[in-house]
Amino acid sequence: MKDEAKILKIHCKALGIPSGSAEIFIKKSITAAEKSLKNRKIITKNDRVRAITKELKKYNKDLAYVYENYNKII
């Protein structure tokens, strides 16, 4: 999940989200997502993205949208 944190920080810079608060809610989102997936021993990349997106929506909907769709945005 360290890669996810890096990607999210890059998106935060692009969206102009202050880095201090971004770091806090990114860490909380990733921790909550890991907790929600801890019972699953086989996890796909899509499972991880969905779990993190679900948690991010509580803090910043724009960031959640960008993270969920960044591979699809051309």
Partner: protein, 282 residues
């Protein structure tokens, strides 16, 4: 339902996820037509019908009604009467285990493989259970429903009972608050009232809290806002389809009301079907 037959590369022709009435019926039907079938269940065989709702509630209510009639009859009400509450809950637990074992034998005798565990989709033909993967040409989703989450302030900070564990308590409470206006909440209310427990049932709860003495419930009824102290709170506000098993990986569309299916119970994925309470519109 018409479906394509398996190729040799799959573990099974059909995997049924959920062993409730809908799942068992589908599994037995496909097995009878000569297919290679497995059924996945994360709890006891029989689903919520056996472990949570139909069977335990029937047994508990039957006993409570007999006890109520005995204690209120002009003939017997003045005779000494008591019952051991843990004996009742143990009896319910044993009956659930016995019924579940009978259903498991029925499936095994029919040649259906039972795979215990929580399944989630990796793709349209593959599920993961623990660290094992299983593949099937077709899937039938019969995952039923679960308790609807409730956002009453304070609920996260206190212990409360639900229909799943209300008959697993070891001691009869003196005063119970049942939150909900569902059939299940009414059955729970009747059960406790028949056993002589003070019960309030209300769905307009604004907040719950707990202190050293008891649990506190703030609610509104016909006469206005009230506060009451109780031993036990039971949350029975209804259920919603159980859908949290990576349906997106299998490209199965769903809404909050359930998995989207057509009139043949087929989902948006051509080889996946949904039946019972988890399907939209059922």
């Amino acid at each position: 339902m018409s479906m394509k037959t398996t190729t040799k590369s799959f573990n099974f022709d059909y995997i049924i996820i959920g062993s409730g009435p809908a799942g068992r019926a589908e599994a037995l039907k496909f097995k009878k037509s000569g297919k290679n079938v497995a059924i996945v269940e994360m709890n006891k065989i029989g689903g919520a019908e056996i472990t949570t709702y139909e069977l335990p509630f029937t047994l508990a209510l039957d006993f409570s009604r007999i006890y109520h009639d005995y204690t209120t009859s002009p003939v017997t009400k003045n005779t000494p009467h008591h019952f051991n509450f843990p004996t009742l809950t143990n009896y319910i637990k044993k009956e659930i285990s016995k019924k579940s074992a009978d259903l498991k034998s029925e499936l095994e005798n029919a040649g259906i493989e039972i795979i215990p565990g929580f399944a989630h989709f990796l793709d349209q033909n593959t599920i993961a259970i623990g660290d094992k993967k299983f593949t099937a040409a077709n899937f039938v989703l019969a995952t039923g429903s679960k308790l609807k989450p409730n956002k009453i302030p304070g609920l996260d900070h206190i212990k409360y009972l639900t229909p799943e564990n209300v008959f697993k308590i070891r001691k009869l409470p003196r005063f119970v608050f049942v939150i909900g206006n569902t059939v299940v909440s009414k059955k729970i209310t009747e059960f406790f009232e028949n056993l002589g427990v003070g019960v309030i049932r209300n769905s307009k709860v604004s907040e719950v809290a707990e202190d050293r003495k008891s649990k506190i419930v703030y609610f509104t009824d016909d006469t206005g806002k009230k506060m009451v102290r109780v031993d036990t709170i039971v949350l029975a506000t209804g259920s919603e389809p159980f859908l949290d098993y990576s349906l997106e990986n299998a490209e199965v569309e769903y809404k909050r009301s359930g998995i989207v299916v057509n009139k043949y119970s087929r989902t948006s994925a051509k080889n996946i079907y949904a039946v019972g309470e988890c399907a939209n519109g059922s």
